[in-house]
C-alpha cells in the first residue's frame, strides 16, 4: 500500500515551513514526526486525554483530532513556542516552582490550555482555571499544584504588564517613580 505524501505548509511557533507527510496525518503526527517538535504528546490519539493540546489561532485544539491540512494558513503554537528569547514563559517557570509537573507528560497540553486562558482572562479565579483545564487529564498531581502555578503565573503576568506600563511612563516622564512602585 503506497502512502501518498503531501507537502503541507504550516506556520508553527512563528516559523513557516513546508513538510512532506502522509495526507491522512493529524496535526499531532505532523508536529511530532514531520517537524521533530516532540513537545506535544500522544496520550490516546483519539481526543480523550488532552495531552496533544496546542493553540491554533490562539484556541486550545486537540491536535490528534485535527487533520494536518486544517492547520494550513493558521498560526499554530506548541509548548516549544511559549518561551521567548528572554527565557521561559511565566507559566512554565511557575510550573517548575510549584511542582506542577510530576511526570510532565500532560504538561505541554496543560500549558497550552492555560496560556489560552490567561490571554482571554488575565485575572482568573481557581474555578476558571478548573474549567479551562477540564479537557486535560493529569494522573499524577490531583491538579492541586497546577492551579497554584497557573494562578501564580497570572499574577506574574499582570504584574509585569503593569511594571512595563510604569517603566514606559518613567521613560517618558523624567523624575517619575521607580518601576514597580505603583
Amino acid at each position: 500500500m503506497a502512502t501518498s505524501i503531501e507537502i503541507v505548509r504550516l506556520k508553527v511557533n512563528g516559523d513557516t515551513r513546508e513538510v512532506g507527510v502522509p495526507g491522512h496525518f493529524t496535526l499531532l503526527e505532523a508536529l511530532r514526526y514531520g517537524m521533530g517538535l516532540t513537545g506535544s504528546k500522544q496520550g490516546c490519539d483519539k481526543g480523550d486525554c488532552g495531552a496533544c493540546t496546542v493553540l491554533v489561532d490562539g484556541a486550545p485544539t486537540l491536535s490528534c483530532l485535527t487533520p494536518v491540512w486544517e492547520a494550513e494558513g493558521r498560526d499554530v503554537t506548541t509548548v516549544e513556542g511559549l518561551a521567548g528569547p528572554d527565557g521561559p514563559h511565566p507559566l512554565q517557570d511557575e510550573f517548575d516552582l510549584h511542582g506542577a509537573a510530576q511526570c510532565g507528560f500532560c504538561t505541554p497540553g496543560i500549558l497550552c490550555s492555560a496560556a489560552a486562558l490567561l490571554d482571554e482572562n488575565p485575572s482568573p479565579e481557581r474555578d476558571d482555571v478548573q474549567r479551562a483545564l477540564a479537557g486535560n487529564l493529569c494522573r499524577c498531581t490531583g491538579y492541586a499544584k497546577i492551579y497554584d502555578a497557573v494562578l501564580a503565573a497570572a499574577d506574574r503576568v499582570r504584574k509585569s504588564r503593569s511594571d512595563n506600563d510604569v517603566t514606559d511612563h518613567a521613560r517618558a516622564t523624567p523624575g517619575a517613580s521607580e518601576p514597580g512602585a505603583t
Binding site: M1, T3, P22, R32, Y33, G36, L37, T38, G39, S40, K41, Q42, G43, C44, D45, K46, D48, C49, A51, T78, V79, E80, L82, A83, P88, L91, Q92, D93, F95, D96, L97, H98, G99, A100, A101, Q102, C103, G104, F105, C106, T107, P108, L111, V129, Q130, R131, L133, A134, G135, N136, L137, C138, R139, C140, T141, G142, Y143, A144, K145
Partner: protein
C-alpha cells in the same frame, strides 16, 4: 544535625522541571533513530484458545514489511517473579485473554504494519474461558485449566494460596464483647498513565543489543532481555528515558520490549513499538479485584481482640507479581493498630482476563478499605468516636506487629490529630445535616521491600558521584524517574552534602552501560534506598574535601563546613574559600575525586516464618485521611468536597514533592472509590472477556471538575534509618482515600457502601435498599466517653 541542613527540607525546583515545562524533556516515543521501523503486535480476539496455526506468509510478502515474528521465535518464558515464569513474549500455543499477543510485524511505517497485521492468518481452537474467579477456583479439570497446576493437588487455575495465623484468632473472637462480620468487594482498577508504553530495540548486527523503554525497572528488564533473547547480559544495554507516569503499570517486562529487540535482531534495523491507549488497558497489571470477608472482634471499650480475613484475588491470565500480592493481601494490615490475633487466608486464581499486578499500594489497598470500614462499624457498636477507637488501639513506635514486622518511627497519632483538627471533625462528625458527612481512615505502607525480587546479597541501590574542578558535581544514578522526583532527590543530597548550588549538580541517569544498579521504582523504595546510597557517596567525597581544607587551614576537618557554594571554618566564618577551590585542594591531595555509595536493608526486621519477609521493610510510613462528602439521596451522586491527607513521611526532603505525592495519591484513591472500573463484558452483553471500556473517555479518571479540594498535611517523625529521616510518600497516602469516603457516606446518610465503586447507580441502589429496610437516615452520635484515651500524642 537537622538545623544544619541548608537545602534539605526547603521547597526546591526539580532538576528536570524546566525541561518538562518547555517540552524539551525526552520520553521514549520522542526518540527517532535513522532507518527506524515501526512494529505492531497482533493480539488474540479470544479469551482462551489454543493456537492451531499461524500463517504469516502474506504479511511477509507485503511491500514495506521487513519481518514478522511469532511466539516460536522467542520460546523462553519469563515472569517478574522468578518462581512464576509463565509468560512468553508472544504466545506459543495458547492465548489466555483477549489482547494476548501472538505475532509482531516490523515495517517501514505504522500504516504498513497495520495492513500487514490483517494479512496474518491465525487459526484458533476456542476453549472455555474462566471469567469469574469463584468458578475458576471450583474448576474440576473437565475443561482445560488456564495454566499447568503449580502444585500437587492444585487445579491449574490457582496461582497462590497463603494461610497465615498469628495468636489465637478464634479465641479472640469468642472472647470479644462485639464482633463485626462483613463481606467486601474491591473492583479492579488500572493505572492509566498518560504516557502509553513505548520501547525501541537496536541490534548492532554483531553482539550488542540496546533497548530504550518507558520502564520502571531497567535492571530487571536488563536481566530478562538477556535471558529470553539469548544475549550476554554484559552486551545488553537498557536506557530509560523520562517516563510519563507508571504507578506500577510499567514495573515488569512487557511483550513490546522483547518484540522490538527480536525484530531488530532479525531486521538489522532499529524498531519501535508504541502502544495504543487500548493496548495499555489490555496490558493492565493493575489492581486485583478482591472478594473479602472479615470478622473482627473488640472489647466493649474499643480494644481490638482478633481479626480474621478470607480473600479471593482475581488474578487475570498471568502471575505477574501475584505471589507477592497474595502475601500483601494480609501482611500489611497489622499496623497502625495493635491486633493481638490475626489470620488471613488468601487465594489468588487465574482468570481469562488481562493480568493483574501491582498498582500503587499493591494488594494492601483493598484489605485496608475493608478493615477501616470494619473499624468504623466496631466504633459504632462500642459507642466510640472512630478517631478515639483508632487512638486506643495505636500500636506505638519501635515495636513489632503481631506478624513480627519491625516498626520504628511512627507518626500516626500526629496524623490523626492533624486531620481531626483541620477538618473540624469534633464539630462536624455525626452533626451535619442529613446528606453531609465526614469519614476517617488510617493506614501504613512500606518504604521499599526488604528483599530484592531475585534473591541476592548485593546492594539494592547505588550511586556514583564525581567532582569536576569547576565545582560541577555529577551523580550517576540508575534509579527510575517516573515523575516522583528521584533524580532531584539525589541532586538535593549531593548539593547539601558538598555545599554546591543545585544548578551545579548534573544527574546522569537511566543507562545500564554506566549507571550503577538501582532495583527500580516500585514498593516506594527509591527515596529511602537511593537517598541513603547518595548520602553514602557524598559523605565519602565530603570528608576528603574537609580533610584537604582542614589541612590547608590547620583546623580539625569536622569543623570545615561546605555550604552555599563555599567552604568555611565553623569557628570563624571569615575563614572561607569558594567551593571549587576547596574541591581542587581535595583533588590535589587525594587524586581525582569520585566515590561510589550504596545501600542494603537490615535483615532482622521480620519473622522467620514462610512469607515473613513479604511486608518487611526498613521503615513504614503512616497516613490518616478525613473525607467530607455530600450525597444526593435521590440520585446517589456522591460529591467529595474535600480530602484532608496527613502523612508521616519521616522527613520531607522537599515539601513540594511530598505534598505532590500526597495529593496525587489521594486523587488516585478518590478515582478508585468513585468511578474507576476495569471490567469486562460477559457473553450476554457483547463478547465475553472483552474490556468494557478501553479508552480514557469511558474508563473514568477524575478531571479537574471531578477532583475534590485536597489538603496535604506533612507529619515528620524523623526515621532513624531514612535519609535525613525520610520515609516513603508515593503509595501510602492513597490507602485511606477509599474507606474515608465510604465512612463519610455512612455519616451522611446511614448507608454502608461495602462494594466499589461508589458510582451513582451503585449508591442509589444501596439507598433504595436502605429506604425499604427503614435504615436510611443519619446515624446517631457516639456516646461521649469519660475514659480519655491513654494514647495521646505528647506536645
Amino acid at each position: 544535625m537537622l538545623s544544619d541542613n541548608t537545602m534539605i527540607g526547603t521547597n526546591m525546583r526539580k532538576v528536570e522541571g524546566l525541561a518538562k515545562s518547555t517540552g524539551r524533556a525526552v520520553y521514549t516515543d520522542d526518540i527517532t533513530l535513522p532507518g527506524m521501523l515501526h512494529a505492531k503486535i497482533l493480539r488474540s480476539p479470544h479469551p482462551h484458545a489454543r493456537i492451531v496455526s499461524i500463517d504469516t506468509s502474506k504479511a511477509e510478502a507485503l511491500s514495506g514489511v521487513h519481518a514478522v515474528i511469532t511466539g516460536r521465535d522467542m520460546p523462553i518464558t519469563y515472569g517478574i517473579i522468578p518462581w512464576t515464569p509463565d509468560e512468553y513474549p508472544l504466545c506459543v500455543d495458547r492465548v489466555r485473554y483477549i489482547g494476548d499477543g501472538v505475532a509482531a510485524v516490523a515495517a517501514v511505517d505504522e500504516d504498513t504494519a497495520l495492513e500487514a497485521m490483517k494479512l496474518i492468518e491465525v487459526e484458533y481452537e476456542e476453549l472455555d474461558a474462566f471469567l469469574d474467579p469463584h468458578l475458576a477456583l471450583e474448576a474440576d479439570g473437565s475443561t482445560p485449566y488456564i495454566h499447568d497446576a503449580r502444585k500437587e493437588g492444585w487445579n491449574g487455575n490457582i496461582t497462590k494460596i497463603v494461610n497465615l495465623e498469628f495468636g489465637d484468632v478464634e479465641g479472640g473472637l469468642d472472647g470479644a464483647d462485639v464482633v463485626v462480620e462483613g463481606d467486601y468487594f474491591f473492583e479492579g482498577t488500572t493505572h492509566t498513565p498518560i504516557e502509553p508504553h513505548c520501547a525501541i530495540g537496536q541490534w548492532d548486527g554483531v553482539s550488542k543489543l540496546t533497548v530504550w523503554s518507558a520502564t520502571q525497572v531497567p535492571h530487571y528488564l536488563h536481566r530478562e532481555l538477556a535471558r529470553v533473547l539469548g544475549v550476554e547480559q554484559a552486551n545488553v544495554r537498557v536506557l530509560q528515558p523520562l517516563v510519563g507516569g507508571a504507578f506500577g503499570g510499567k514495573s515488569e517486562p512487557f511483550d513490546l520490549e522483547f518484540c522490538v529487540a527480536k525484530l531488530s535482531m532479525v531486521t538489522g534495523r532499529p524498531v519501535k513499538i508504541l502502544y495504543t491507549r487500548e493496548e495499555v488497558f489490555y496490558s493492565h497489571r493493575g489492581r486485583h479485584p478482591f472478594h473479602m470477608k472479615y470478622r473482627t472482634g473488640a472489647t466493649s471499650d474499643g480494644m481490638l481482640t482478633s481479626v480474621d480475613a478470607k480473600i479471593l484475588l482475581d488474578g487475570g491470565a498471568y502471575a505477574s507479581f501475584g505471589l507477592v500480592t497474595t502475601y500483601y493481601s494480609g501482611q500489611l494490615l497489622c499496623a497502625p493498630y495493635e491486633m493481638p490475633a490475626y489470620r488471613f487466608d488468601s487465594t489468588r486464581v487465574y482468570t481469562n482476563k488481562p493480568a493483574c499486578g501491582p498498582k500503587r499500594g499493591h494488594g494492601s489497598v483493598q484489605p485496608r478499605f475493608a478493615f477501616e470500614v470494619q473499624i468504623d462499624k466496631l466504633a459504632e457498636k462500642t459507642g466510640l468516636d472512630p478517631m478515639e477507637f483508632r487512638r486506643r488501639n495505636f500500636i506505638g513506635e519501635h515495636t513489632r506487629t503481631v506478624n513480627e514486622l519491625r516498626v520504628t518511627s511512627n507518626g500516626f497519632l500526629e496524623c490523626l490529630a492533624a486531620v481531626e483538627q483541620a477538618s473540624g471533625w469534633k464539630e462536624k462528625f455525626r452533626a451535619m445535616p442529613f446528606g453531609r458527612g465526614l469519614g476517617v481512615a488510617g493506614s501504613t505502607y512500606i518504604s521499599g521491600t526488604n528483599y530484592p525480587i531475585y534473591p541476592n546479597e548485593m546492594p539494592q541501590s547505588a550511586v556514583q558521584m564525581q567532582i569536576d574542578r569547576s565545582g560541577r558535581v555529577a551523580v550517576f544514578s540508575g534509579a527510575s524517574e517516573i515523575g516522583q522526583g528521584c533524580d532531584s532527590v539525589v541532586a538535593y543530597i549531593a548539593a547539601e552534602e558538598l555545599g554546591v548550588p543545585l544548578e551545579w549538580v548534573r544527574v546522569l541517569r537511566g543507562d545500564t552501560d554506566f549507571t550503577p544498579v538501582d532495583l527500580g521504582a516500585y514498593s516506594s523504595r527509591v527515596t529511602f534506598m537511593l537517598g541513603n546510597a547518595a548520602i553514602d557517596a557524598a559523605t565519602k567525597l565530603r570528608e576528603q574535601v574537609q580533610k584537604a581544607v582542614g589541612e590547608a587551614w590547620d583546623v580539625p576537618h569536622p569543623e570545615v563546613v561546605l555550604a552555599a557554594g563555599e567552604a568555611m571554618w565553623s569557628q570563624d566564618p571569615s575563614r572561607r574559600m569558594p567551593i571549587a577551590e576547596a574541591f581542587n585542594l581535595g583533588e590535589a591531595k587525594f587524586g581525582t575525586l569520585g566515590a561510589t555509595g550504596w545501600y542494603n536493608t537490615p535483615k532482622d526486621v521480620h519473622g522467620e516464618y514462610r512469607g515473613g519477609t513479604i511486608g518487611a521493610s526498613p521503615a513504614y510510613s503512616f497516613t490518616a485521611h478525613v473525607a467530607e462528602v455530600e450525597v444526593d439521596p435521590d440520585t446517589g451522586i456522591v460529591e467529595v468536597q474535600k480530602i484532608w491527607v496527613a502523612h508521616d513521611c519521616g522527613r520531607a526532603l522537599n515539601p513540594i514533592l511530598v505534598e505532590g505525592q500526597m495529593e496525587g495519591s489521594a486523587y488516585m484513591g478518590f478515582g478508585e472509590a468513585l468511578m474507576e472500573e476495569q471490567i469486562y463484558k460477559d457473553a450476554d452483553h457483547g463478547r465475553a472477556g472483552l474490556h468494557n471500556a478501553p479508552s480514557l473517555l469511558d474508563y473514568r479518571i477524575p478531571t479537574t471538575l471531578d477532583t475534590p479540594e485536597l489538603e496535604a498535611l506533612i507529619v515528620e517523625s524523623i526515621d532513624p534509618e531514612g535519609p535525613y529521616g525520610a520515609k516513603e510518600a508515593g503509595e501510602g497516602p492513597l490507602h485511606p482515600s477509599i474507606p474515608a469516603i465510604a465512612n463519610a457516606i455512612y455519616d451522611a446518610i446511614g448507608v454502608r457502601m461495602d462494594r466499589l465503586p461508589f458510582t451513582a447507580p451503585n449508591v442509589w441502589r444501596s439507598i433504595e435498599k436502605a429506604r425499604e429496610a427503614g435504615t436510611l437516615g443519619k446515624p446517631s452520635a457516639p456516646v461521649p466517653t469519660d475514659r480519655p484515651s491513654e494514647a495521646i500524642p505528647a506536645d
